[in-house]
Symmetry: C2
Subunit: 349 residues, 2 copies
Amino acid sequence: MANEQGINVAVVGATGAVGEQILATLEAKDFPISKIKLLSSKRSAGKEMTFKGETVTIEEAVPEAFENVQLALFSAGGGVSKQLAPEAVKRGALVVDNTSAYRMDPEVPLVVPEVNEEDIKKHQGIIANPNCSTIQMVVALEPVRKKLGLNKVIVSTYQAVSGAGLDAVEEMQQQSRDILDGKEVTPKVLPVSGDERHFQIAYNAVPQIDKFEENGYTFEEMKMINETKKIMHDERLQVAATCVRLPVETGHSESVYIETDQPAESVAAMKQLIAEGDGITLQDDPSNQVYPLAVDSVGLPDVFVGRIRQDLDTENGYHLWVVSDNLVKGAAYNSVQIAERALAYGLLK
Amino acid sequence: MANEQGINVAVVGATGAVGEQILATLEAKDFPISKIKLLSSKRSAGKEMTFKGETVTIEEAVPEAFENVQLALFSAGGGVSKQLAPEAVKRGALVVDNTSAYRMDPEVPLVVPEVNEEDIKKHQGIIANPNCSTIQMVVALEPVRKKLGLNKVIVSTYQAVSGAGLDAVEEMQQQSRDILDGKEVTPKVLPVSGDERHFQIAYNAVPQIDKFEENGYTFEEMKMINETKKIMHDERLQVAATCVRLPVETGHSESVYIETDQPAESVAAMKQLIAEGDGITLQDDPSNQVYPLAVDSVGLPDVFVGRIRQDLDTENGYHLWVVSDNLVKGAAYNSVQIAERALAYGLLK
């Protein structure tokens, strides 16, 4: 039960790249917390982290750790979520899960607050946070969908290595240095640490994120396709994706082609429509070379949109360039936003 | 007039990145040369280069330098081509021009031999070599167009810095090192050396190649759109492009979506069709993580195609990943191929 100062919050996977961002976001937003629990694997238990100036000792994530927790933010891999999220729910917590474990479960809402915050109310204990590359795209497209209707989406991504974890960032940095020094490199992490073969990421573009499915698409591509339809509540929306990993540390970029039900009155009207969308910052002034860049997005919660232009052959076709920090809006920030809205709906008690 | 040992060849811009590749390609292909002239700006005149083991002194590119030249390969910027290509033609040379100066001139054939080599015969002195990003795409799509018909192309590019010259390569390398060392960087070359603003290319993705046009597209994007239609002789072909510069030294990658007139019998049939295309090497085996990579393409004349898959909503829609060395097939190799075919047609005398 929440006391008058706030609620009891558990962060599972507190020591990871997203976990750290979740703590920073809870602090920055001054989320009303009575007590915070930092949970992790046995290996990190006993270590200390700082939250709001106070030292917090990390505890092992076991079922009992969720006693008296009202909100549990999970970001420790799908396996941990599968095992422990039901335990947290059983003890009365609302779980916001940042893994792919429950995203496509029909009983679990998949939420980007700018698009479908009402879905939060349908939760049965777990709310899923979508994939990073999906989140920024649906935020950018929602004002278009709402006003003009959306038919078709074809996206090619330019994804940062931090989406694959801290090991991937270190591998990219070490490879970059070794190649500049003329040394041989032996890739060990990317494109997918759990897959058979590994390829150079420095000074390269690798068209594989996550493992391949039977149909020739990667799991990352299928996530973008399926999650977009689920979040937008439109099974007939046509979505196609090609997901590519780049030697960029943080900040995913996306080249997005869309077809709307009706065309906008003009490209200027389309820009205006997108600029007014929730969570979006328009950066679109080609004559002054203004467009979104991955390195400029780092640390910011906005989704940046630019290079908006009409297709030269299709009246209702448009091209956009969408950029956001994959660790912030793509993960931690969206999770905390979900928690804030749940709190506002009176769902955290 | 060609003597019995071969023809007299001039290479204009011999000291540039593409010029060097042209000389290497002429050597590797053992192109039948009687005498070679290396031409450049006044600044480099008098320097020496080696061709087929012999020392050649670089001469200044002036109109008189083209006396007795049968073939002139230009790669020294659009301004030089505008000024000197007509002088070479006037003196009886066939010009193969690797700049954008004449590409859209209706009297100048724009040729990728795997696609439209017959156009060589229509030349009136000048044959243009297309833009690098166009060449690899049309090579990959030609077998599809010929067999199934082609309706629509939407491409997002992942382009290497060597396409912007040696200064751009050096800027990327220095920036990469400085950022790893925690130093500030001051971009001066990319995205476009002649444009107002410059942005960090290391660990970034920059959605601008060449300057912006009035319609919001860059000149590079308009080149891909217009050149593809001209090479494929199809003004009704719908082409859209988003061109992006990456921190990759050499090797352009492209995420291409196409719609054909008729669907292929199966994805396997589509792969087979592309594998049999001229100049193409298929690298497509997702279950073994086999797909084209920019770093693997360096120095090779092939266009590598992989990740071929059917769109999940559109029966005649397909996605492909197309990679090639932008300095080889994208520039030097294609120019020398044009010269070879012109020779075979008896057009060099």
